[in-house]
């Protein structure tokens, strides 16, 4: 009896020890998660917090040592929205330029990309793989390496300071991605759909417009978002090709602030935040749609 009781006592003690070990491990892993989560939050937010902090400073308060706004002021945001600083005279014009370039790049990347992938993937044109390879090659060439010859060519064409030179460059770099995603997505649509339409006498443009485009809607949204963000976030080509104050875009104007010694940092950060709002809103709104083919979101910026 006593041995059994001792065994039971022993096993219950072992059990308790095992339980406490499990509890300790659980506790440790929970603490680890909390610590790592906090580190991730601080790390991700710091530069963005800095942006907000400085934008909320009143004019003379930028050069101080505090780490939270003492007297939060929206003066600088108001200054940007009403173009109240001489640096910001053309802000709305520049905002419109960014929008225009973004809209045109999106439209042409979708149009050219969908036509191409329709011809390659659905109509199976001869040597279509050559076109796919050209697109793939474009995708893996760093865009910034082509900037100097591109600039020279645009000057020869007399297109410097013209938004269409930027649109051309960005369409050339956004379309390859569009072609991949469309071809990939198109594989999920049975070819028989097209075949039966053909037998019914539909011409290729009719199939493209009435069948292909509607079925591709989710991919169009994903690629459209990608192209819009790419154009909105791009800097180098816009900087090189657009130099006058009224033709430049927001990122170029933002960078102009930096070249001055007496930068009005609060206005600059307010501009940076207003400029960042549309892409952040689009990103979070279309997050799920974009997940269809995780976007490169401006990797080729």
């Amino acid at each position: 009896m006593s041995t059994i009781a001792a065994d039971a006592r022993l096993s219950s003690r072992a059990l308790a020890r095992a339980q406490s070990a499990v509890r300790l491990r659980h506790y440790l892993s929970k603490t680890g998660t909390v610590v790592l989560s906090l580190a991730i939050i601080v790390w991700s937010i710091a530069p963005i917090y800095n942006m907000v902090l400085i934008s909320l400073e009143p004019e003379g308060d930028v050069f101080t040592d505090h780490i939270w706004p003492r007297v939060p002021s929206v003066e600088s945001f108001w200054g940007v929205l009403t173009q109240g600083h001489w640096y910001l005279e053309h802000f709305w014009r520049q905002f419109a330029n960014s929008l225009y370039i973004g809209a045109m790049v999106t439209f042409f990347a979708l149009l050219i990309g969908s036509l191409t992938s329709f011809a390659i993937g659905r109509m199976r044109i001869r040597h279509g793989w050559l076109v796919s390879n050209a697109a793939l090659l474009t995708y893996v060439i760093p865009a910034s390496f082509l900037a100097i010859p591109f600039y020279r060519i645009m000057q020869n064409y007399g297109l410097s300071n013209n938004p269409w030179s930027v649109i051309a460059a960005l369409v050339a770099f956004a379309t390859p991605y569009a072609i991949f995603v469309f071809q990939e997505y198109g594989r999920s649509i049975p070819i028989e759909v097209d075949e039966s339409a053909r037998i019914d006498g539909a011409s290729p443009p009719q199939i493209y417009l009435r069948i292909y485009l509607p079925l591709m809607a989710p991919a169009l949204v994903a690629v459209g978002t990608y192209a819009l963000l790419l154009a909105w976030n791009e800097y180098l080509y816009q900087f090189l090709l657009l130099s006058s104050k009224s033709s430049m875009t927001v990122p170029v104007a933002l960078a102009q602030f930096l070249s001055s010694d007496q930068s009005p940092w609060n206005y600059m950060m307010a501009t940076a935040i207003i400029y960042a709002m549309p892409p952040v809103a689009i990103y979070y709104a279309f997050r799920r749609r974009m997940a269809a083919g995780l976007t490169m979101g401006g990797v080729k910026g």
Binding site: I40, P47, N50, I148, A272, G301
Partner: protein, 304 residues
């Protein structure tokens, strides 16, 4: 889930060729004209805005004396060192962090989803905004970082951007900050694509934790990880913004990389051919990378 369907394409490709041959007969004259008309816009864009600039660039940089001038330039020599460091650290630290963090974000729970939303913020906010902010954060006198160091630890922080190695380090860290979320999402999608049965079976067989990672997860992710590393290498090689806005190539032109040096030579000292030569000197690295990547991207269907 189609993000990492590792499909062996060699057989379907063969299949497709015979299929297209059989279809060509059925692609009637009029339809063939239409198909051509649909491809022409892209071909025009490719030839005018990609192929022509490539050829033009090759022609601009074809003079051997340019390279003699370039290699003798001490700024170019330090640029090469910077580029190598930027590539080696920027790509690998970032990809390794992304690999670890993608495992962390596999944990279940609503908290993880919320954390992921915060985590992708650096990627969602435009580069120019955040890099300018980081530039000011690192200001020696009034920067946020030194203010925090002083407030909490009473440490007088240095002028981060006035020293070559600290400035280069700042650029590398900024790059890692900006792009880790993106690659984490890609690797997270890759991990999610591993069938649940494989993970469950492995767990039952005792392959948990590190063991499970080494023997199950990583072998299945290895190809994706390799492609991501190569892609990230080539994207980083062409990266202009991080250097241009965080350090501006300074102090005294000591933190340039090839992409920014090319633009500086072409537009600041108005010697476009030298700028092209600076960029072209990366070709011995770019060409093999492009070849390997094109083969990899064609045969494995990684959708990014």
């Amino acid at each position: 889930m189609n993000s990492v369907s590792a499909v062996d394409v060699s057989r379907p490709a063969l299949h497709r060729r015979t299929l297209s041959r059989s279809l060509r007969g059925s692609l009637k004259g009029g339809e063939y004209t239409w198909a051509l008309a649909f491809v022409v816009p892209y071909l025009v864009v490719f030839v005018t805005f990609v192929a022509y600039p490539v050829v033009y660039g090759l022609w601009m940089g074809s003079d051997a004396s340019l390279y003699r001038e370039l290699f003798a330039d001490p700024i170019y020599q330090s640029t090469v060192v910077n580029t190598i460091l930027y590539l080696a650290l920027g790509v690998n630290v970032k990809m390794f962090l992304a690999l670890l963090l993608s495992g962390f974000f596999m944990r279940p729970g609503r908290w993880m989803k919320a954390l992921l939303l915060i985590f992708v913020l650096p990627w969602a906010v435009p580069q120019i905004s955040t890099f300018i902010s980081i530039h000011w954060m690192l200001n020696g006198e009034w920067g946020f970082l030194n203010n925090v160091l002083y407030k909490f630890f009473h440490i007088e922080g240095p002028s981060w951007l006035n020293d070559r190695w600290m400035a280069l380090g700042a650029v590398i860290v900024s790059h890692i900050w900006k792009w880790t979320p993106f690659w984490t999402l890609i690797l997270l999608a890759g991990r999610m694509a591993i069938p649940l049965e494989i993970r469950d079976t492995a767990r039952v067989d005792g392959a948990t934790g590190l063991k499970g990672f080494v023997h199950i997860t990583f072998p299945l992710l290895a190809n994706l990880y390799l492609i991501c590393t190569l892609l990230s290498t080539i994207f980083l090689l062409g990266d202009f913004n991080a250097v241009n806005f965080v350090s501006g190539g300074g102090p005294a032109n000591s933190t340039h990389v090839l992409a920014t040096l090319g633009i500086r030579d072409a537009f600041e000292i108005a010697h476009p051919r030298l700028g092209v030569a600076a960029v072209m000197s990366a070709l011995p690295l770019v060409i093999p990378l492009v070849i390997v990547l094109m083969r990899k991207l064609r045969t494995t269907e990684v959708q990014l």
